[in-house]
């Protein structure tokens, strides 16, 4: 056991951090800077981060869940308005069924409440779906039942809407949207694969939440050091200090359990990986909401305005929290994994 990042992982983290520091928005106004956003997209593509879960020669991914999480955390911290979760999850799905990588930008589709993968029957999406993290994507992957497992198909995407998260737009796909089968699939997606894939999705969102929390703690501590009331920096008041200390602690605990979830994706059996990820997701989701609410509170009036980054962090945390299930669904999975109830079937 040695859960320190390897030198290569540290290099990856530092590279992601540099891109984030250089190209991510520092103010709400900068989200509208299309040139900046374009450069960020290009930097992410150029760095190869969207291919971490494509297949290497032996069919295994180029990078483990840990590396994906390392990048995801930095993007979350920087409120990166670029696609990562979606393309990464789509690439992993293609890899698992042995299909070749997508030619055009692609993401994944989830149920309307984002808690479940979409299973399309009869060549169409039954109840509708939501393509998440859809910036630039022209299609989204769904599952098609095939014996005990699944194959994968794609739905074409219409225009992007913002949704709760100002940094990662979504596309709503209406009930009945047609599904085209992905060519060249070499094997069905089994139950273990699907668990592992969900574990990856949960681990990535956990890492994103950790990044958001760390970003929130940083911007809020900065504000608390500079904002003065009653002749003193508000960060000198014990009440504010304790709010921020609790936020820092929540982020650190989350980082530890999220790290484990990232490792488990490739190191454990599918169900065990999913259990590890579920525990992490429940913990990080609760923590992130609390930390982001603290960020708003410490920013006071300003924190409740559109111009403050605090709500952008909260909104990103809300989306990541819901992807593949939030607190309730994941607590239920934890109980089920311990043999005391809960229900973890695909609905």
């Amino acid at each position: 056991m040695d859960v320190r990042l390897s030198p290569e992982q540290v290099m990856l983290r530092d590279a992601a951090r540099q891109v984030v520091d250089r190209l991510c928005p520092r103010t709400v106004g900068e989200f509208d800077d299309a040139e900046r956003a374009g450069k960020l997209d290009a930097a992410v593509v150029a760095s190869g981060w969207l291919e971490l879960r494509t297949a290497s020669d032996d069919g295994r991914p180029w990078a483990t869940g840990v590396e994906v999480a390392v990048v995801a955390e930095e993007l979350g911290r920087g409120l990166a308005d670029t696609a990562f979760l979606g393309p990464t999850m789509a690439a992993d799905l293609r890899r698992l069924v042995g299909a070749s990588p997508a030619n055009t930008p692609e993401t994944i589709a989830l149920s309307a409440d984002l808690s479940q993968p979409v299973v399309a029957r009869g060549g169409a999406v039954g109840r509708g779906a939501v393509a998440v993290d859809a910036r630039g994507a022209t299609s989204a992957l769904v599952l098609l039942p095939d014996g005990d497992g699944y194959t994968i198909g794609a739905i074409a995407l219409g225009s992007v809407t913002t949704g709760v998260d100002l940094t990662r737009p979504v596309v709503s796909c209406p009930p009945g949207a047609a599904v085209s089968r992905i060519e060249g699939q070499r094997r069905p997606l089994g139950v273990d694969d699907l668990s592992r894939w969900r574990a990856l999705g949960l681990a990535v969102t956990c890492a994103d939440l950790v990044g958001v929390m760390r970003g929130a703690v940083t911007v809020t501590c900065d504000y608390a050091r500079s904002r003065r009331q009653y002749g003193a920096a508000i960060g000198s008041f014990q009440a504010v200090q304790h709010l921020l200390a609790d936020a820092y602690v929540a982020a650190e605990g989350s980082a530890s359990i999220a790290l484990h979830a990232g490792w488990a994706v490739d190191a454990l059996d599918g169900p065990d990986a999913l259990e590890a990820a579920s525990a992490a997701k429940a913990y990080c989701t609760r923590a992130a909401r609390s930390v982001c609410e603290t960020a708003i509170q410490v920013h006071g009036g300003i924190g409740n305005t559109w111009e403050c980054l605090a709500h952008v962090l909260l909104r990103r945390a809300l989306l990541s929290g819901e992807v593949l299930g939030g607190v309730g669904a994941n607590l239920a999975r934890v109980l089920a994994a311990h043999g005391i109830g809960g229900d973890d079937g695909l609905r």
């Binding site: 309307a112 409440d113 984002l114 939501v130 809407t161 949704g163 709760v164 998260d165 979504v170 709503s172 003065r228 009331q229 009653y230 008041f237 009440a239 504010v240 609410e293 708003i296 509170q297 006071g300 009036g301 924190g303 409740n304 305005t305 559109w306 111009e307 403050c308 605090a310 709500h311 909260l314 809300l318 989306l319 929290g321 819901e322 992807v323 939030g326 607190v327 309730g328 669904a329 607590l331 239920a332």
Partner: protein, 376 residues
């Protein structure tokens, strides 16, 4: 000890109930849609015109001189009808009633109470939030007028207001709490610029920034004597913390009923975690209803201006945020089905622990003024 109606109260309630059955304007949920603020002005005038507004205020200003508990009955019936809450102008009314002279009361209160005139409140400034007394807006005499220069924020409905109750420093040479005066400033002048504040849930018409650049106000529009503005501010702020004055029991009652309805419509959609959040919101809203009845009953002994408002404010904040969390839970953080009203309710709820004095400030006040804990 009786939460029930006297015969007079019962008669009033039934009359009100029937009227509400025919006159509910069905506005969108407050604080989630800019349409609400436009419709709310008409609702104010409708309520007033029918004799259901200002129940416990003096007849002389357009009220009804009824015992304060009638406000609780009004809130309960508004909830039952699913109607919009009564407009929250009570804290301004209380401020003028207590600190304004006869002339000010006569000229301004009827228009405020009836809803004919729209009002806003120019207290907070960018560098004077929790520490309100450090405000820097200046008012300088010029003949029979004062000239006001400064920058106000968190000014509710400033875009539509006819009048602004402004705190400004008239004497920079005395301790900061003693150099502040209060003015009723006409908003319709070029020297006043209004900029909307966009809240985190997207609404832009509830709050504004107001920049006074040598705006003018008649000295007769001063409320209280020069230097007495802080006392007015404390009266206004203390009532602003009272859910009974704000009519917020109806705000929360309406929201939780709508959440219950959402679950009734699609019972299979909601698991134990979501139902639990909703149950707590129901319990919290019920607590506040009972608590406001208690506070309004206490007013039967006479109106008080003590530190209890900080208790009420924290309780109200707890309710607002429990309802907000239930809204997030039931509505879904990431809902892409239909509208995002519930997300907006949640996001707006975060402001309740800041506006009218942060929760931290309220706890300080309770610790020092109620619990009499030592200062450090």
């Amino acid at each position: 000890m009786d939460f029930g109606d006297s015969p007079e109260e019962r008669a009033f309630r039934l009359h009100l109930r029937e009227w509400l059955g025919h006159n509910n304007p069905g506005l969108p949920t407050s604080s989630t849609s800019d349409e609400y603020w436009a419709g709310q002005a008409a609702w104010h005038q409708t309520l007033f015109g029918a004799g259901f507004f200002g129940l416990s205020w003096p007849k002389a200003v357009g009220g009804h001189d009824l015992p304060s508990v009638y406000e609780a009955i009004l809130d309960e019936e508004i909830i039952a009808a699913g109607a919009p809450p009564r407009p929250s102008v009570g804290y301004l009314v209380q401020g003028l009633l207590r600190h304004g002279n006869e002339d000010v009361q006569r000229r301004f209160l009827p228009g405020l109470v009836s809803g004919r005139d729209r009002w806003c409140q120019g207290f907070s400034e960018p560098d004077a939030g929790s520490d309100l007394a450090s405000l820097r807006t200046r008012a300088v005499t010029d003949g029979s007028e004062y000239v006001i220069t400064g920058h106000k924020v968190w000014t509710s409905y400033s875009d539509a207001a006819d009048w602004c109750l402004v705190l400004a420093r008239t004497d920079p040479d005395v301790p900061k709490h003693r150099g502040i005066s209060a003015f009723i400033v006409p908003m319709g002048q070029h020297a006043i610029e209004q900029r909307p504040i966009r809240m985190i849930n997207g609404i832009t018409r509830e709050f504004g920034e107001v920049i006074f650049d040598e705006a003018r106000v008649d000295a007769a529009n001063m409320v209280g004597e020069p230097g007495e503005g802080w006392r007015l501010a404390m009266t206004v702020v203390s009532h602003e913390r009272e859910p009974g004055e704000l009519g917020y029991v109806a705000r929360y009652g309406k929201l939780v009923n709508e959440l219950v309805h959402a679950v009734e419509e699609q019972p299979d959609k909601y698991g134990p975690e979501q139902r639990r959040d909703l149950a707590w919101a129901l319990v919290e809203a019920d607590m506040l209803r009972c608590h406001v009845s208690r506070r309004l009953s206490d007013r039967l002994d006479g109106l008080s201006h003590g530190p209890e408002g900080s208790v009420d404010k924290l309780l109200m904040t707890g309710v607002e945020q429990a309802v907000g969390h239930a809204a997030l839970s039931i509505g879904g953080a990431a809902s892409t089905e239909g509208d995002d009203t519930w997300l907006k309710v949640y996001l707006y709820s975060r402001a309740q622990s800041v506006m009218g004095g942060t929760s931290q400030i309220q706890r300080n006040l309770i610790a020092s003024r109620i619990l009499e804990l030592p200062t450090s």
